[in-house]
Subunit: 277 residues, 6 copies
């Protein structure tokens, strides 16, 4: 059960409108690694935790915080859109800077949402449930979360560099800081889980059931041997169970696949290998 | 430039057809973390590397390997679909086990692909470019790759447990082993990058530009304090620059957002706050 | 800013597992009119309200309530999936009822989410931002909301009829009741807005700018005159400004469209109307 | 069975080309509430009507009319694209107004469709079947239709305000008028159905099966009591069966959800609540 | 402008209900090559024709015919869904054949559309505007049309083989025959265009601007020389302008790509090629 | 199994950066007929061939070549994005040409991919598995391939005309030439298959099972008789089995569809045809 308070956790006021930046900022709302993604990802993970109340509580804390991030960004987008060039009058003026703004702004910000934020990214793709992951395996999912906060902070930093508006930068400096914390926090949780259950996801699958002879080898499928010099091609493996090795000319172990004909009622092309043409 | 040899790297032959398992196995081909995703993700990352030839070579090695994984799985799916119940004749039999198979198999495996693999997941969603990430920041992307190999191995293990077919298990035991290696390998590359540039992504953004006062705090937005006991709420942060802390009752720093009216030519609802109702 | 309490607003416990029903229940989570849609729709509308604090408060109340509905349904889905037939062992048994369950359950519930809810509908389509609407015009949007609660209640009722599980029915009886309230509530808000500003959306566009001569006419484009007998073809219009009328044989007012050739550098097919063939 | 006449129902000729407006106008063709949506929505509803020939006829009349609306808009888009700046020569000129037009136009209008309309919205998202609704319940669906015509008219009005082209405005003034009629018409049909079967959708579900004690209550989940003053929180309900009421501090009735562990063969994280960390 | 008559062009009545077949038949309505695709594809092509009234007329004839095909299939789907097992009562029976039907039918046919057709394919993916093509080049588009009718007839034939219902087969035998005609018809139109303008699309691009030295060569990028024996590797080319040839060991003409570093404000990974690790 | 060499098959270096052209060029990477589509289409077709090794080899040759095309275009996009205007500093300059470039470039090229290529088209839609076709019937699929190469060459030619950059034109002149070859090559393969098995897809369905009386007729569903003059309305059919004919006033053979009421537990609208209103 959730509740809401009217105040924003942090202020979300630009110094001046900027419809082009509003378009770009949508990436942080409805993009692959925007706040809709992290909010929904942490909530779905939290709701699906089986046992492990400490992690469940953590996920619901952060997931709930992220809904408030969408709120701040949506407010910022609305304000950046104040005064957007939406009337024919202004177009008539033919000022090239205004023309560029009109050509560059997201037309749905005017036509569809009436100067409000959209549940979409910076090019207008709608947010999708397929952006998020909740697998039931916490180590796997926390790695996904660390990635999301890494990509998210990178994108927020890029947007920070693209703006000179003090109010915009103030909000982004908060979001960047929270992404710093969340990178730290998921890394701490990952370290704890790796210590408890080991490095590999999932840790519960008996190793002898996999082909261990191919489990520590870098295959060189790309001409050039630069990658052979890396840490991943020699020395002890990260999981501590073997030595990395390197195969410069991988061999095919399987046969050439030859498939049987399909049954006639599917009307696939029949084999014509022996038909004279 | 790429080239192809006809032999499969590893064998891909089930002991017997199983159209229901063919449907499930599609998750490893065209799912969010299937082989199409890792192949395309590593290739796009590799093609976008600027400098850093060692990592570029590594990415192209692994990306090229993964195309061969799609090939093995596509071959396996074709063979699992041999003998699928696709004619009216068989339906007439009304054998409940066959009826269940007919009801449960993916109808597009018969109608659309003629018993071939589909570029789609286990419920039929087409693979999408939005599954992959290539950001230009290698530490961010290698965390994404570690996650992809974690989710991928988890899914392969679950499918291994759902089958009793020796041929299917043989192929999965290879894919699971390769996912083991790739988890190890990306972790090694991540360790190298974190040592060279620090833990946070991106490492090049001046820390004083973010709100450092909120960069190490767990906010308790969810009733219940279980999460306060975690490593992420106390002690030194993972990045080594501060101490984690915990805020049990987060305060709102921002104001209640009040937005200006939209310009009349957008025909939004006008403010009626002072209109008697 | 949002906060969360651990207790569910209403209980979400089935009497017994039922993986097929878990698949169907996904429609209420991530379907076009599921709880993700209403939660996000009301929140985006609320965040975009300009002035009109009463409506903003209402939207945020209901939007926040709906996040809790996702939570209850996600919990229910997890419990319906307890004991789902996910191992090879059970498949071996070849019990036709179990076979039907295995063929009919959503394979991603096992392979991808590990018996947790998915942000997707009952056939596995991921939830999309394009399901929701927030236009800045409250009368338009409240009509959208009334529709969402009508479709939502209809779907919940259909699912109620498809289950004999007391716990499932208990939760659905709550959701159905809340949809009843929300239909009532949006209808009340619509009545208020229509009284204040008139029936047509948007009410602020000068009527003389539209082609009023075609603004009250039912055109008969479909052979058969049954529709001519309706209230919409005669008598005073709902907006109170004119009389409905009926046109049994609509005339074309425009010309046959003849388009100019495209410029040569687009390499469209050139006009060949005078070329002998 | 359908037939076509070559003349447009209304003229669709702009005074002059305008590729930026062509991009915006796509919203009315392939957007969420564009003409493809209403055409397909009314036709699918009409084809699915069981009994109720009057409504079936009405739906097929309007659905057929809307295909002609797509036709007029597609013709208009083709003409707005005449003379679009598509060659390198013009780019060389470096006229900033032309540069803005080239940067702002939809590149697929040149590269993909050769100056023809696209089945997509104003940012290029393809039209989707998931935009439409046909539920088998006419009252529900007519509310959806009223919403579609409200959103559609709002968008057409906004586009009217963004253009100074007489030919464009002429076509939009027709579409706006038809949306006026269709709002009136669906409202008339809704009134008829509500009178016949009652206000709630669906009307046939026995009310005693829902939790009537929570069917008339506004829950205050958002700090601030502005919404308590509304019509929806007091007085008789719209359905006429009860009194609205208001709950300022909603209580949780359910328990904290604690989920059972997943079966081992899914390799979810095991419960570690008692494992020392 | 379009009009509709109530009678179906051909009868659409199954002998008996079959909800599993209804699910499969959706492929012909809303699949990639279903009737929604061909209807929309021919109409958009027709509306975009510039000059060439003969082809415009042809496209609008066929596009209009195809809307009527959607209508017949939607009617068929509704009738196949009569009597679908949608109540809890029937589930209680635990008849394995009914259980298989319940597990195998499309749940949205009950929950969402109330036993009506959906604008979606046989696994539930919504129809998308990105399925269709209208390029402005008629030879290109007619080849697309020939393909659509080929895939469409193949799918209709497969469905014909999967049914033993006389009414279903009667409708499919009509659709198969129309696909036969349309394959013939587009082939006739293609032959006419190829004769008038040549084989290559587009025919208007000066051949000397392309790299003619690589325009007739089969590159052997796949180990094995079976393809070298084909007609496409020797003898005169289809366009009549050169001889096909075969290159068994293609050489790389380009250099190894080395990309410049990104500007610092994007926070990509910096080149570390000379940094000791 | 695949391998990679570092050199590009052909050079991919623009004379100078051009972020707007980078955006447009994405159509050839991740558009409906871009290189991702042809690569995946040919590989999936090749992996699914049953017998017919000559065609399997051909498909894998070309599919493998096309992965290298994605590589060249991705490299070109990265280089076109060098020096893109991504910092606030440049925006401050307010040079209208730069403003137009900033407004017109794809914001995800900066925010998401850090100046790398995206798996998306020129308006940002992600590439989708539903773009490709692999049906198991080679004649059908080769027609799809001929279409893909026709649309692809048309788009490449249009982009060639939009650029004055020598390096860009050099790469496009190669891609255009390869599309020329591939059109020739698929046409040769089609001719071979049509000679072996006949013109119609699929050729194995007994013709007497279709409604032959409607298999050679052009129906005139569109007012105007221009299309009656075409080759497709008279003379011998392309398949050589009958004469084309023309029906100027098609008759409906079916009845008006009247559907049965839905079962009460679906809560569709009940038939009200006899209820006084």
């Amino acid at each position: 059960m959730f509740s809401h308070i009217k105040e924003l956790q942090f202020e979300a006021k630009p110094d001046r409108p900027d419809p082009l930046f509003a378009k770009k900022l949508q990436e942080l709302i409805g993009g692959q690694f925007g706040e809709m993604s992290v909010a929904m990802q942490y909530l779905f993970q939290g709701w699906s935790v089986r046992g492990n109340q400490k992690y469940k509580d953590l996920l619901l804390d952060i997931g709930t915080e992220e809904i408030g991030h969408i709120e701040m960004l949506a407010t910022m987008v609305s304000r950046l859109l104040d005064g957007a060039p939406v009337s024919a009058q202004e177009e008539a003026a033919k000022d090239p800077i205004i023309a560029a703004a009109m050509g560059g702004m997201n037309p749905q910000h005017a036509i569809v949402s009436g100067l409000g934020a959209r549940p979409a990214d910076s090019v207008g793709n709608p947010w999708m449930g397929s952006y998020i992951i909740s697998s039931g395996n916490l180590l796997a999912d926390f790695r996904s979360n660390l990635n999301a906060e890494s990509q998210g902070r990178l994108q927020a930093v890029r947007l920070y560099e693209m703006s000179e508006d003090r109010g915009v930068k103030d909000l982004l400096s908060v979001l960047i800081a929270r992404d710093s914390y969340h990178q730290n926090q998921w890394a701490a949780a990952i370290a704890e889980l790796e210590e408890a259950e080991g490095f590999l996801v999932p840790s519960t699958f008996p190793r002898e059931k996999e082909r261990l002879d191919v489990a520590y080898t870098l295959y060189n499928f790309s001409e050039g041997e630069e990658a052979a010099a890396g840490r991943w091609a020699q020395g002890p493996s990260i999981d501590g169970h073997a030595e990395f090795n390197y195969e410069s000319t991988p061999k095919a172990e399987g046969a050439k696949p030859v498939l049987k004909p399909a049954p006639p009622n599917l009307h696939n092309t029949l084999p014509m290998d022996n038909i004279p043409k």
